[in-house]
């Protein structure tokens, strides 16, 4: 029985590891300038965690196999080195492992959160609400018109609560349901929620940030590959949460300008 159990543990451990080794399921390919550091960090952690997982499960299985049953005549004995050796091993090995992961992880994190966007980064605003994202481009004047929460109305298609009659800055603002950005151009994303918490999760961009009602947040990133990607909400926001998504089109500069012109015409 003990041996069968030991084999079961090893088989489960190996079967669990196979899809990881074969990379059957993996994150969508990275299209961001900063994402490689995250992917490297994930890969390093996968190695360390994967080896720890296999080693621990196999050791557990081996000891169950070896040390079960009464085995008359054999005296029970203690692990060589005793508890001190194991505790020291845990502190040193795991300590070094997690410290290294921590330090390298900070670098990947810092590249996103502790650097300022360049002065020429293109501003795009995103507003999250139940259950859609709306994006806003400042138009030729480069200025976003002020938001008037009392004017926000889905019914009137005034998603941002703009007062184009009185606010000059708002007149040329372009509001869209799809996000488009030029490739290889740094984007400064200005985030706010209009109702409850949401999240801006773009796996391809290696970007994940909650919207916090009452707080304006900023992110900056650069997309390096033309294509069409998905933005999804990952913070439970109500019954339509599963369906809260938008597309991100990464376009050449020329295509982007054409797209923006077309959107401006719809306003």
């Amino acid at each position: 029985m003990a041996r069968f159990f030991a084999i079961t543990i090893v088989v489960i451990a190996i079967l669990s590891a196979i899809p990881i080794i074969q990379n059957t399921w993996h994150p969508v390919p990275d299209i961001s300038a900063h994402g490689q550091a995250i992917d490297d960090q994930l890969s390093d952690t996968m190695w360390e965690a994967g080896l720890s997982f296999l080693a621990s499960q196999i050791l557990l299985a081996w000891f169950i196999w070896r040390f079960s049953g009464n085995r008359p005549g054999e005296k029970s004995k203690s692990f060589p080195g005793g508890a001190t050796g194991l505790v020291a091993a845990a502190i040193i090995l795991v300590g070094v492992e997690v410290f290294a992961l921590g330090i390298f992880g900070v670098k990947a994190w810092a590249a996103i959160y502790f650097t300022e966007p360049g002065a020429d980064a293109m501003p795009v605003q995103v507003q999250a609400g139940q259950f859609a994202f709306y994006f806003r481009y400042p138009g030729p004047d480069g200025m976003f018109g002020p938001i008037h929460p009392d004017l926000i109305s889905e019914a009137n298609q005034n998603f941002y609560g703009l007062d184009t009659d009185h606010d000059a800055d708002a007149k040329d603002d372009i509001v869209t349901a799809e996000m488009a950005i030029p490739v290889n151009r740094e984007i400064r994303l200005l985030m706010h929620a209009k109702d409850v918490s949401h999240s801006f999760y773009v796996p391809a961009l290696r970007i994940h940030q909650d919207f916090v009602p009452g707080l304006d947040l900023q992110l900056h990133f650069t997309a390096t590959k033309v294509g069409r990607y998905e933005i999804v909400c990952s913070q439970l926001c109500g019954l339509g949460h599963y369906n809260m998504k938008a597309y991100l089109s990464v376009l050449s500069q020329e295509d982007f300008e054409n797209w923006l012109k077309k959107q401006a015409a719809f306003q």
Partner: protein, 594 residues
Amino acid sequence: MHDMSAHAAVHHGPPTSFIRKHIFSLDHKVIGKQYYGLGLVAVTIGMVLSWLMRIHLGWTNYAIPGLHLLSQNGAPGNVMTPEFYLQLMTMHATFMVFFVLTVAPFAAFGNFFLPIHTGAEDMPFPHFNMMSFWTTFVAFCVMLLSFFVGDGPTLGGWTQYAPLSAVGKVGGPGEGSGVVIWALSIAIFCVGQLFGALNFIPNVLDLRCKGMSMWRLPLPTWAWFITSCMGLTSFSVLMPACILLILDHVAGTSFFVASNLVINDQLQPHSGGSTLLWQHLFWFFGHPEVYIAIVPGMGIVSHVLITNMRKPMLSHRALVYSMGALAVLSYMVYGHHMFVSGMNPVSSIVFSFPTLMITIPSTIIVLLWIGSLYGAKLRINSASLFALGFISLFITGGVSGFFLAQPSIQILLHATYFVVAHFHFTMAIAAIFGIFSGTYFWFPKMWGRMMNDTLGKVHFWLTFVGVYAIFMPMHYLGLAGNVRRYQAFVVDYMQPLVGVHQFITVAALFTGAVQLIFFYNLIHSRFWGEPAPVNPWQGTSLEWSIPSPPPHNNFGDKMPVVYHDPYQYGVESSQGDYLMQDSPEQVKNAHDEP
């Protein structure tokens, strides 16, 4: 140490009426069994809810016969609506986290065995102890009530993030009365747990019998003591948070709702609240809660393993210190739930390091278990299989923690099924294995009858393979970016993952059905099992020195005196390869620490 006046305080005569004996009992053992029963009812509800969710996730438009009985509007034609899915999900988590994982390993077994392990006649405040159970029971009933009031239970998830949870009915179905009932139930639950902690802690500190130094306490009692300290400090934060949440609903306050929010084109009448305040308060409770669920399991599993290995742990003290370290660190790591929440990104780094560090005491505990197996004479039975299964599951859940401790990796994995896999392996399934292990081990003492070991082993094999089949693939889903709390997968890149969900659903239905074996074994053994001897496993701690089941005052009229550390195995005594804690016999190869 031994204090006769404290013993006098807890003394109460045997009950004479049915109500005092079985319902409003002051006896810690009856209260422990009541908690166990509550845990069983709650786990059944939680499991059925998870089945319904899993069927919906695998086959979204499948009509589940009878589903409409659970909700007036949630299942037209027996097909689950998106909001009803979220309501079931919230209730699954709430019942499991609070009424199973907190109740069973801690309050049920702890109530029954902690006073026996300390050599006490009962808890120090038996009336408070009785109120602890009945308060928890009221909380449970209030939570159930939410299915039948207004538009059903809340859909906001067990984390109840504000402002969705605080804006009222306008937030969606269940966000009005459902949230108020949820918060009320949890606040009541907190009171019940505080009553419990206020008994556990002084029992360990003040009611230990003669000779029972702190280091002579068995490991589960150490675990329950540490857990009580966590409960005392974390539930006392959750309770006021729930009260503030209720006030946001009923008193027009804005603790958790910011200004200028617009829902359904209506400007909300709130101003000045903080979205992140709720998250800080909730997770200050929420992360210690993870350890409240798992630490008792660690204690139970250690106890079961030692008895079945016939040798003590490599170091009793290192294990206790490590559990203590988990408890202390659990308060410093909670921010890892909020890496991408919008709090200052520097905080994410600060919270990342203790989160990574907490793997050190966890690793020490795992290595002590594995290292202690070396040279053992391991007995394989239902209890030890579940204990060993616990270790395997805890390792698996632990290594995924490496990923989630790092803010940069959470950019990919936050709020995905990777997280669902991680916490189910650790606080949920490992903890449940701890409960199973404790049940097979202590059932003879609690009910005076043996459980069927063959059925127990069948139950183990099918459950062990089953839970891996359910939760291991969730890691893969998470890596592929599958967001959790979705009732259907309409996002393009998630659609190819539906097959994995269907596999998980089949595994979940299978594993759930297997639990019928356990229920059958439990009920059959309770009434028709073989009568249990005093010490069926040749154990050494005090529960094995008294009849099965123990009499009303545990030790009869003679208070026990303890002469040894709790785990004297592998010795040569007149009893065999073990020496009871209360045996005055001295043997030369005893493991007594100075």
